[in-house]
Subunit: 428 residues, 2 copies
């Protein structure tokens, strides 16, 4: 299992793809072409606004495009894409929308991508999502075993249409569902109106995902620091709305993941939620948390995960609190905040002192289970391109490595193992 | 400085007081008496609603009142209050509104207390706040050196009126300002319209405070777990709105504290904010964070603190990341989630292995500085009632205690000291 000559089967749980926006036209139903052309016409003004507000830096943006011109075509060119995955040692990937978040050049029609919001016109949102989903299914059909496409799902629209889109997306070969992080004026995600949606997601084995993106921007007055300080909170918020309203209890087959938001916010949140539940004699009939039959961490371990793009060593060091199996590594290709095109070096720096067995879980095995990848189809790919533990600087003799994390592992979720606080870090 | 026979000067940075609501009538201007009577009439219905939604448990509430009947009168009876403080070994306190959050029986008029929200009618909010502030000034005038009263400030109202209320409150003897955690439809706290308010707070040396309380309850559908999972986030949110908009840079005399929300959310948030700033070459003219001249942690150390009611050992163990001087302990008297009436036992459990010098900072010295308590007036009180390190189970020989935290202390804010992650916990 921890054979140091066995290549890693690496699955990036967070990558991005998308056509240059104007090219979505043929994937849109004809009734929406005119609205699409109008919408396209307004894009220049939106971009100029971003520059004025100082949230973009024209010089660094141009350099990013120039340095990576060929590889960035992998955002929508399937042949180029596989070359880039190979170069990174990545055997398979989960494909979110918006290849280009720097400049918004590959945004799906009508804002149906990462910035999707329940405040959008529902009809346009559904049309834009369908167009994107049609293109994505085509895109993923080449080398289908290497791409798990995430369908965009405007979940606050009419329930029957949403459920139908889930089944349509599954039949077209897509493997997961992206819902907006916020519900704006629609029903919050604790609402039972969504039960048929969660049931369909469970039935089709398509994990439900949120991704960092939409935020209440008008509140920020152009202060980027405010936005970035809470950018992880908004996509994480549905987690506790689903959890405390019993959605994971009623739909044990439902899987839910938070993507693109790191996982630094999760250990203390889990501790906090478990304490609420256990402190209130959770599970008893008089508990204020009667919608649950078990502790928050049990739902986490059964049904919840994070897709962490380029997680820091700080975040990886807290994996015993989060749960080693609940952190799914992502390269973020082709975003500039990801590890591409230097994934090999990045992995060495992040994982050199992490045990090989845990590295295998974090880099691929957990993602294979969460998204239903066919590992037998991927093993030959991994043998061809996957780095081995030696490449990550991981010692052949793993005993001292395992020992250095022993105390952190044994402390684990300290509130369940009898400790007052976590032990973070290596050491005897 | 760490003499084990020297009593602790304990200041609770988070206590609560308030009259039984109907008794605020004489403190209200006559023009508001009729509206007050109407508002009082609707309180029963609000309480019944809370029981129906399952957020209150009638049996445990009754037991709390019965067990503590005499002490709870200290919520508004100044003589009884000082007895309770003495019994807890607490020399002085910062006094927030709402002695009774279990049953809301001491809420200031028109919702001007902990639940204060910018969504309230501004005229009623100002009238209610003034009534409460008048009563509080009277209440704190007995044993003035032991009570720092927190004036309620409806900060989103008309700026001149708000500034006038700050000066009026200061002249009446109050020492700090409570603003609503949220701004609803009013201007967010990054807005320059508030600059005269922040300037007046700095000029009068009254720290600006938020407190856990108001939340977007209609979004929760009655699920208490959702509410409690994010209850700390809402009062903390103004911290990053003020910080990134440069309020602490423009007003170096302004001090800001988050109360009643613990401090478990702060270490990783600070790490995240510092990383944003330092990663963007913060401070340079082209930085997207040009409103700041220094790192978030520098503003924290200079101007920001948390008033943590009954902090857990988990939170105390992370004091080197937060900054030992930035955590102000609170008893929460007379709230059931606080340490009263068993503060002595509680302190022993929480602090037995914490160095005496740090305990002195956490339990009182930092609060004395933040709120401007007259320590020379409090030392005689502390000599009479304050526990000594022996009472907290702290060893006379402090060398091994200091040594056990050495690694955590040296790692400190790991992103500034060259470590990849914090060292949390005791050990060599």
């Amino acid at each position: 299992m921890t054979d140091p000559t066995d290549p890693y089967l690496i699955i990036s749980a967070a990558c991005h793809a998308g056509l240059p926006t104007e090219r979505y036209r043929p994937y849109l139903e004809a009734a929406h072409h005119r609205a699409f052309d109008d919408w396209l016409g307004q894009r220049g003004a939106r971009r100029a606004g971003a520059v004025r507000r100082g949230t973009r830096n024209e010089t660094s943006v141009m350099k990013w495009y120039e340095d990576n011109e060929e590889g960035l075509r992998g955002g929508w060119d399937a042949t180029q894409r596989v070359k880039e995955l190979d170069g990174d040692g990545v055997a398979a990937e989960v494909v979110f929308p918006d290849a280009d978040t720097v400049d918004g050049g590959t945004a799906p029609p009508f804002g149906a991508g990462l910035d999707a919001s329940a405040a959008q016109d529902p009809e346009a949102a559904v049309a834009g999502a369908r167009a994107y989903n049609r293109w994505l299914a085509e895109f993923c059909a080449t080398d289908a075993e290497r791409h798990c496409g995430v369908a965009v799902l405007p979940v606050t629209a009419e329930v029957d249409a949403v459920v139908a889109e889930i089944h349509r997306a599954r039949e077209s070969g897509l493997g997961a569902l992206l819902i907006p992080a916020g519900w704006d004026d629609a029903a919050p995600y604790h609402d039972r109106r969504y039960d048929p949606v969660w049931a369909a997601a469970a039935e089709t084995a398509m994990p439900l995902l949120t991704h960092a993106g939409a935020v209440p921007r008008p509140e920020y007055g152009g202060h980027l620091g405010i936005q970035l300080s809470e950018a992880a909170w908004w996509p994480a918020r549905p987690l506790w709305f689903l959890l405390w309203s019993g959605a994971f209890e009623r739909h044990p087959g439902l899987r839910f993941g938070v993507a693109g938001a790191g996982c630094w916010w999760l250990p203390d949140l889990l501790w906090h939620m478990d304490r609420l539940y256990l402190g209130a004699h959770g599970g008893r009939p008089l508990s204020p948390f009667a919608a649950l039959k078990r502790s928050p961490h049990e739902y986490l371990d059964r049904q919840i995960f994070v897709c962490a793009t380029a997680p820091t060593r700080h975040e990886l060091a807290r994996r015993y609190e989060i749960g080693v199996d609940n952190v799914l590594w992502g390269s973020g290709f082709p975003h500039p905040e990801g590890t591409w095109p230097h994934t090999g070096e990045w992995l060495r720096r992040a994982f050199h002192d992490v045990p090989v067995g845990e590295t295998r879980r974090l880099l691929g095995e957990s993602a294979a289970e969460a998204f239903g990848f066919d590992k037998s189809a991927l093993v030959p790919v991994a043998r061809r391109i996957g780095p081995v533990p030696d490449d990550l600087g991981q010692p052949r003799n793993q005993a001292p490595v395992e020992a250095s994390w022993r105390r952190a592992r044994e402390t684990g979720r300290h509130w369940l193992t009898g400790f007052d606080f976590p032990f973070v870090g290596v050491g005897e």
